[in-house]
Subunit: 132 residues, 2 copies
DNA sequence: TGTTGACTTAAACCATGGTTTAAGTCGTAT
DNA sequence: ATACGACTTAAACCATGGTTTAAGTCAACA
């Protein structure tokens, strides 16, 4: 199983084929080969690269930056420092975003707690009414 | 300090005035009063509500859902259960998103580790060359 | 041999979440 | 009086990240 079709790649990552075509067009999936009929053939290396693209996408790196990263991958070993700095910087951004979300979730959790308290108070009131 | 202007609200949350106007138009900030000159006056309650809106926004709740939540707040105590269920459901979505991000960050961290290793190897090679 | 089904492309279309612009209204300090 | 700065509105504009459509190609199976 050396190469896979777009439908197989789509199934493997549970992502629409249209999105894979869009990513290729945007430069996130470079050098995808074709068979004689012009159909995409994803190599194992490209599947691995797609996994990386999805990691970056899932952590909200903009497509323009992912594209830059991929261009550096294609350029080869001379860009390793650049890639490293990019990923380190991105990691800090992701940690900041997770911290923001966690902080906001804390605020939401407090609202949940208050709503639970209030629903219990309302139930108690209604019990009182039933007993009248 | 019972009411504040749009510029004060903007400064308090570090959010553009245009966004506050946009949120009001979208129904996220209901019942904002005006002074005689037609300028917005944010009450303390509305500042508190804005804080909640921002918690929801920071955790990626779509504006249409935030609007629904706010409508329920305005309707009053009869919607507490609805609000509670909404926030509970949203909390699960946020936890799932944080988990996805954390998992992807792990993949990114592994790449960072490999790049660090490779940069060290390259440095060692270069040292070897220098010594020739 | 012809008809599916899987694929291709370019281009149009879409939703989301704002931001910017243009034109106008006040309050206040000079 | 006037000029400035803070505000108002409606409408136009924008970036991002896709999705959908239309028209066509090809392989394989009946």
């Amino acid at each position: 199983m050396k190469y896979c079709s777009i439908s197989e790649a789509s199934a493997k990552f549970n992502i629409p084929e249209s999105t894979l075509r869009y990513y290729e067009k945007k430069g996130l999936l470079p050098l995808i080969e074709r068979d004689e009929a012009g159909r995409r053939l994803f190599s194992e290396d490209q599947i691995a690269l797609l996994q990386t693209v999805l990691y970056l996408k899932n952590t909200h790196m903009p497509i323009s930056h992912i594209k830059q990263y991929i261009e550096w991958v294609v350029e080869g070993d001379d860009t390793i420092e650049l890639r490293l700095e990019m990923l380190k910087k991105h990691k800090q951004a992701v940690l900041a975003e997770i911290a923001l979300m966690s902080g906001s979730l804390k605020g939401i959790d407090e609202k949940i707690a208050r709503y639970i308290k209030r629903t219990q108070e309302r139930k108690e009131k209604n019990n009182g009414k039933e007993e009248l």
